[in-house]
Amino acid sequence: MSLHPRRRPGAGFHVLTIAWLTAVWVALWGELSIANVLAGLAVALLVVRSLPMPSIDFHGRVRPVGLVRLAWHFVRDLVVASVQVAWLALTGRRPRSAVIRVRLRSHSDLYLTLTAQLCSLIPGSVVVEAHRHDGVLYVHLLDVADADVAVAHADVLAIEERVLRALGSDDELRDAGLEVGR
């Protein structure tokens, strides 16, 4: 008996997970052959059976334009942030840091996770603490002046908005207080 009754993934999610794990297996072996696919399927089934994951609550729809915009901003921010941090390391200046609280507008684990992931990779921020019940992220900012705090706050919300515009349904956008149809 499982302690977590809601950790019962649906059948559709199962199939996708198995397909993905098999693809990873084949890519790791580097050769598309029947034996590799069969072995991958066996391993995938074993993994899915023995390590069940909580199912992801996804009600949105994938928007290609939003996804492209999200990816473009992500690459640009990653480059800018990397150069900034690298430069700071090279010059050896002591950075002044801050930890700020950002309340996200959506109430979905998936978007909270994605936003937190992207935040950690892009503009000078690492997520220190996340409260999934209130949808609050605590973000550490490297090298800020006082005026930057408001900017960083808006940046995190902008990332969330791009995630929502890439994956959210109209209802979820409206729920988060965003304009639909842009």
Binding site: S82, V83, V99, H140
Partner: protein, 128 residues
């Protein structure tokens, strides 16, 4: 054509190693745990991505490229989680000095939550 690709690959490899070097320097030079986690996520991840891109441009074979794509994907998924776990643990075990922060809304909120439960130290709290 292949010369051009080789030159691009070399550029990517050099830029990638420069960023990895800067990340290492950041780990050494930054003053505290939180700042170091930045060095371990951003320049390090982009450095690795550039190295992988350089390798892909040089190797130019299907299976190798798929493997490089997987490495890139897993790196981008795991690096932020690792940084988050380390900083979170650091915060909760008092390895973070709130006085070194310009603004610290997490410590403020933790204190407020402590007062709400009647001053008894429910859960972890950062040392001041």
């Amino acid at each position: 054509m292949s010369v051009l690709l080789d030159v691009l690959a070399a550029g990517c490899l050099i830029a990638g190693s420069a960023l990895a070097f800067a990340a290492g320097l950041g780990l050494l030079r930054f003053p505290d745990l939180l700042a170091r986690s930045h060095a371990a996520t951003k320049p390090q991840v982009l450095g690795l991505l550039l190295m992988l891109l350089g390798l892909a441009l040089r190797l130019r074979s299907g299976p190798a490229i798929w493997m490089l794509v997987l490495v890139a994907l897993f790196q981008m998924v795991t690096a932020p989680v690792a940084a988050h776990m380390v900083t979170r643990a650091g915060y909760r075990t008092g390895k973070v000095d709130p006085s070194s922060l310009v603004v610290d809304e997490l410590t403020d909120d933790l204190r407020a939550a402590e007062r709400e439960v009647g001053g008894s130290s429910q859960g972890p709290s950062p040392r001041s």
